[in-house]
């Protein structure tokens, strides 16, 4: 990036809420049903039908707002946003314009190991539109389009950030953290591929240090974290080139073309729509009980950043280890459960981040009690590391036997009885007098040979540390 400009980015994120029924009617929100099979007079906008607000959607919006440190407004209102589009059944969207359910808040997150804060301006509740399937490759080259209203009326929250973000990568990290928060509070499944998490971005450049914002461009159709970062990188460069050549940025909406890897003009400000917002006369304002709001705030689960700090501060994990457990909450939860029976955070995280992670991705997670038992065997030096790996693989096949039982059945118990091992060591030394002599004369590398011989004699079960000590005692004791 040129040193002449600061990049200014703000995001608008749509999150589909994980309610059973739609926002304003009782149709199912299930994904993947046959087209137009989850529709009723309300979500089809049949003449005379009226909306009825889903209490759960309101609750989820309050939970989301609380998790993003937002002011929750007990009083909020629903407005109509009027525009014509084939996927919009009533030709207006029920949304919140003047009085949103959540006011200012913020989200903290790490960019590398630096803690950053992005301000949230507002969060409002609204209804989703239907889904369009275009006859051609894209909307532009399609002769006709097909409309499915199953999605129409699913509850959404729109989260609007301040233009606080200074780099495309930071925008991606913010969105990743936001998604994690939504997952932690379980208000959305945030599947970008199914459209339950979508992002529009505003980006502008301004001369370095200038307090005056430049003309912003809106980018739509950002359907993945990668698309967000790439589109912003592209747009940043495009705007820089325009400015450096003395040109002016046009205020406009652009769409991200994933295949072409570039943004393209959708519409300019000149034909910006006039949405004619006004209060929906069919819906009285919300008047939420402040006590209810407070209780929801209090019952929030531990959020990603809190968990990260706890893992670092209390469990003494590195940032990298803690971030792993936070970003993969299933691992984080497993970690906590294993810790109950085996309170050694470092050992647990080492196990989870190693072979276990690969195997669990394939087969699903193991019982935390079994993992605790395995870690205990390793810690007690009943088995060695390699045996631990074998037992892990065995557990992914069946968890019927405990690690201890597997050890017993296979006779894998580590041989660490010093008296027994001394006999083996003595036997091997007695069988190889030449080599003993050479070692004692300084041929140090032969030490490994002796270890190998002991391991072979004990079928690999010998505790390497004990063997090591015994050999040193026996060999070096006679060295002068």
């Amino acid at each position: 990036m040129s040193r002449k400009y600061d990049t200014v980015i703000g995001l608008e994120i749509h999150v589909a809420l994980l309610t059973e029924s739609k926002f304003l009617c009782s149709c199912s929100t299930e994904f993947g049903a046959p087209p137009n099979s989850h529709c009723c007079p309300i979500c089809l906008g049949l003449p005379g039908s009226l909306p009825a607000i889903n209490a759960k959607a309101v609750e989820y919006a309050v939970i989301a707002g609380s998790a993003l440190n937002c002011v929750i407004n007990p009083f909020s209102k629903f407005d109509r946003k009027n525009y014509f589009y084939p996927d919009l059944p009533k030709a207006y969207q029920i949304t919140q314009d003047a009085y949103p359910i959540c006011g200012p808040g913020y989200l903290d997150y790490y960019v590398q190991d630096k803690l950053e804060r992005t301000k949230i301006v507002r969060i409002h509740l609204e209804e989703e539109a239907g889904k369009l399937i275009h006859s051609g490759e894209s909307i532009i080259d399609s002769e006709y389009s097909l409309v499915d209203y199953n999605r129409a009326g699913i509850p959404l929250i729109e989260i609007v950030t301040a233009p606080d973000i200074t780099a495309p990568e930071q925008a991606r990290l913010f969105l990743e953290q936001l998604r994690l928060v939504m997952n932690y509070i379980q208000v959305s499944d945030t599947k970008m591929e199914e459209g339950s998490l979508r992002c529009d971005a505003n980006i502008s450049l301004k001369p370095k240090g200038s307090p005056v914002l430049g003309t912003k461009v809106e980018i739509k159709n950002l359907n993945s974290f990668r698309a967000l970062e790439r589109a912003l990188e592209f747009e940043k460069e495009r705007q820089r080139e325009v400015l450096e050549q003395g040109g002016q940025i046009e205020q406009e909406s652009r769409t991200w073309d994933e295949r072409a890897g570039k943004t393209m003009t959708m519409r300019s400000k000149a034909d910006a729509p006039d949405y004619r917002f006004f209060p929906d006369p069919n819906l009285p304002p919300l008047n939420l009980d402040p006590v209810w709001i407070e209780n929801l705030k209090k019952s929030l689960p531990e959020l990603p950043l809190e968990r990260l700090h706890r893992l670092k501060d209390q469990d003494r994990l590195s940032h990298y280890e803690a971030a792993f457990l936070v970003n993969y909450p299933d691992f984080g939860d497993l970690f906590e459960k294993v810790k109950v029976t085996f309170p050694e955070p470092k050992a647990i995280v080492n196990l989870l981040m190693g072979d276990y992670a690969r195997l669990a991705r394939e087969h699903g997670h193991l019982n935390p009690v079994r993992l605790g038992e395995l870690l205990q065997l390793l810690a007690d030096e009943v088995i060695n590391k390699n045996q631990g790996k074998d037992i892990l693989e065995e557990l992914f096949k069946t968890e019927e036997d405990s690690p201890a039982e597997i050890v017993e059945k296979r006779g894998w118990r580590m041989l660490s009885d010093a008296a027994q091992l001394r006999k083996v060591v003595e036997g091997i030394l007695a069988d190889n007098p030449d080599l003993v002599g050479r070692f004692r004369n300084g041929e140090n590398k032969l030490f490994g040979f002796f270890i190998g011989q002991v391991m072979r004699a004990t079928e690999g079960k010998a505790d390497p540390e004990v063997v090591n000590n015994l050999l040193r005692e026996e060999l070096e004791g006679g060295r002068n």
């Binding site: 009782s26 137009n36 099979s37 009723c40 889903n54 209203y149």
Partner: protein
């Protein structure tokens, strides 16, 4: 007086295809109406809040339970152009592709 361009802009916004005659007629009607409403603008309402509903209504929210939807064939029964379980609309972006 509302100008002609404004009438055309409003008709486009409201998706109303108007004839030349209608444009002229609504230009007059709009002007008359706005003249008649001019007295409203003079009322001092600076101390007042807007009323959306004359009766104060305690909102009552719906429980999140799935109810029956309509059958797909019924949903589509009113559509002028349907295909494979979908409603069909002509190209969305104007001009040819």
């Amino acid at each position: 007086m509302i100008d002609r361009e404004e009438v055309i802009r409003i008709a486009a916004l409201a998706r109303l295809d108007l004839s030349e005659e209608e444009i002229e007629k609504y230009q007059r009607d709009l002007t008359d109406f706005l003249t008649a409403c001019a007295q409203l603008k003079k009322v001092d309402v600076s101390q007042l809040r807007a009323t959306s509903h004359a009766v104060t209504i305690k909102p009552r929210l719906r429980q999140d339970r799935v109810g029956p939807s309509l059958k797909q064939t019924d949903v589509l029964s009113g559509g002028a152009d349907v295909q494979d379980g979908f409603f069909r609309v002509p190209r969305i972006v104007e001009g040819q592709g």
